[in-house]
């Protein structure tokens, strides 16, 4: 396949310590809201939480709502297996996220913001509250009214899905809602809400400070800017790396592999497994790029070398989905269980190999009929693993 390869390029914005956040905040708050929206739109920043919705447009739609009460929410539920970048942002540069939330509040007309922090990260609370206090103190000094509080989760991956997150904050079970209505018109407490991933917010700080062009100049068409990648698994250098979008998976593996990389899981358990033979034709970015296969990703990159059984990998993912499915809709609740016990039955020889095709069909049905992204995306890893490593599922 003809495929233009993009080189792996490091970037260093997110974790760069900026000691002028007060100045950036007051300077940005003195600009007209429409100008800030335009700046974000021209940067082409897309959400870094996984779905890739244009951030400027999200703020614009919420700003246009006439409600008198609106909310800003930072999604810090980070539960996708293999993702650990948001925690690092909140520990190292929390002020960037706080500035972004306050600017968002100003743009859309919201006086309250929340950080929905997964319960597993409770140890971040004392330092984060200190940063919030200092931040609110400064806001008062410049006469800007904006409050931020932390809302703790309690060990449920599904609460990272934005509408489940709202229900969780409202004291309910974290069960995803039907969309529409979208959060921009009806989110937390039924009010227009901007909900953004931690990293998305941190990137807006870069844009406020350096301008849209600086950001836009990184990356490739449809996938602008840099992105944090959480690298783990069989790699000599696990960790968090900021890279420009658009690189080929081949380049990525050359940099991070251990010389024996058999496959890479891109985007966590709900993403895709890419086998070695497809590294060269796979690019990491959002959908809509013209060359090669492009994968959206929340930034989880898990490497597997040839010592790993892909059956064990899939089994582990399915156990995860089975446990984390909210159970609200049948295709997902029953489907996850059937997939989990189905691959075991094939492995034990209780079902013929062709049963895998039935299970593939089942994931297709789930993709079409499940209510939210959890049930819909089980097909991604299931089909990419079963189709590429069918032998390993059987013997």
């Amino acid at each position: 396949m003809a495929f233009e390869s993009y080189q792996l390029k490091r970037a260093d914005f997110i974790f760069k310590n900026e000691n002028d956040w007060e100045k950036i905040l007051s300077r940005t708050l003195s600009r007209p809201p429409q100008e800030i929206i335009n700046e974000l739109m021209s940067s082409e920043l897309k959400g870094r939480g996984g779905a890739g919705f244009p951030t400027g447009l999200k703020w614009k739609l919420t700003a246009e709502e006439s409600a008198s009460v609106k909310y800003v929410i930072c999604n810090a539920d980070e539960g996708e297996p293999g993702t650990f970048k948001d925690r690092e942002i909140l520990s190292l540069v929390p002020y960037k996220v706080l500035v972004a939330m306050a600017v968002c509040g100003y743009v859309i007309g919201a006086a309250n913001g929340f950080i929905y922090l997964r319960g597993e990260y409770k140890y971040l609370v004392p330092e984060l509250n200190k940063a919030i206090k200092e931040f609110e103190y400064y806001c008062k000094e410049i006469n800007h009214n904006f409050n931020i509080s932390i809302f703790l989760g309690s060990g449920a991956y599904i609460c990272g899905e934005e509408t489940a997150l709202f229900d969780s904050m409202e004291g309910k079970r974290g069960e995803p809602r039907n969309k529409p209505p979208y959060p921009t018109s009806s989110g937390y407490m039924g009010k227009p809400t901007v909900i953004n991933n931690v990293e998305t917010l941190a990137h807006t700080f870069t844009i406020f400070k350096y301008g849209a062009k600086k950001f836009y100049d990184l990356g490739v068409q449809y996938s602008r800017g840099s992105k944090l990648f959480s690298v783990s698994g069989d790699t000599p250098k696990p960790g968090i790396y900021e890279l420009e979008l658009g690189m080929s998976l081949q380049d990525f593996v050359e940099e991070f592999g251990d010389g024996d990389t058999k496959a890479v899981q891109v985007g966590g358990a709900s993403g895709f497994l890419v086998p070695r033979k497809k590294f060269a034709e796979t690019a990491i970015g959002y959908k809509g790029k013209l060359t090669g296969i492009s994968l959206p990703t929340g930034g989880s990159m898990m490497l597997f070398n040839s010592s790993r059984s892909m059956y064990n990998v899939l089994d582990n993912y399915l156990e995860f989905f089975k446990e984390e499915s909210c159970g609200q809709c049948t295709p997902c609740r029953v489907g996850c269980q059937q997939l989990y016990s189905g691959i075991k039955a094939v492995k034990r020889g209780e079902k013929p190999a062709q049963y895998l095709d039935k299970l593939l069909k089942l994931t297709e049905t789930m993709q079409l009929t499940a209510k939210c992204g959890l049930g819909q995306s089980v097909a991604n890893s299931f089909s990419s693993i079963v189709e590429n490593f069918r032998e390993e599922m059987i013997y």
């Binding site: 980070e78 539960g79 996708e80 297996p81 293999g82 993702t83 650990f84 948001d86 925690r87 997964r118 319960g119 597993e120 990260y121 409770k122 140890y123 809302f151 703790l152 989760g153 309690s154 060990g155 449920a156 991956y157 969780s168 904050m169 409202e170 004291g171 309910k172 079970r173 974290g174 069960e175 407490m189 959480s230 690298v231 783990s232 698994g233 069989d234 696990p238 960790g239 968090i240 899981q265 358990a269 898990m302 790993r308 064990n312 990998v313 582990n316 993912y317 156990e319 995860f320 446990e323 984390e324 909210c326």
Partner: protein, 156 residues
């Protein structure tokens, strides 16, 4: 008023008595009592003027809101993919050996409970575990024995 009622009242005073304050109140009770008894849930429902079924519904949804009495220290070992690949089972065995409990159990002195959990967000430093709210990473059986040894010295 008994201690549980006191606790619930003070949590409701701190967080508020609206539906959106329910999760922080449930979390506060678990933090203190180490679980949510049926009695606590009914009391919370009364305090917030909610149907008890609603409180039950919410309380049973979240994996960190326990419904049986847990130990003073809850150990949660990550069992998701990277930790599994990097030796999670040896970590579990080391803990089981040392505390003489299996997954889901609590030591007879009520000091430790052993649980498994999903990805803790430390895969680059796998295997990882939480003890209450504290994170421990890059575990080895030796390291785990050392950590638990420290906890065992603490009063129960």
């Amino acid at each position: 008023m008994n201690p549980v009622q006191d606790l619930i009242k003070s949590l409701a005073d701190k967080h508020g008595k609206n539906r959106e304050n329910l999760l922080p109140i449930l979390q506060g009770v678990v933090e203190q009592e180490k679980y949510l008894s049926e009695y606590s849930m009914i009391e919370i429902a009364r305090e917030l003027d909610l149907p008890a079924a609603e409180v039950f519904g919410t309380a049973t949804f979240y994996s960190f809101l326990e419904h049986k009495k847990m130990g003073k220290y809850i150990i949660r070992v990550c069992k998701t993919i990277t930790c599994s690949m990097k030796g999670k089972n040896q970590i579990l065995h080391a803990i089981e050996d040392m505390l003489k409990v299996s997954i889901g159990e609590t030591t007879p002195d009520g000091k430790f409970s052993l649980m498994q959990t999903n990805c803790l967000g430390w895969c680059h430093k796998a295997p990882a575990m939480l003890i209450n709210n504290d994170i421990y990473t890059e575990l080895t059986p030796e390291k785990v024995r050392e950590i638990l040894g420290e906890y065992m010295k603490r009063e129960s």
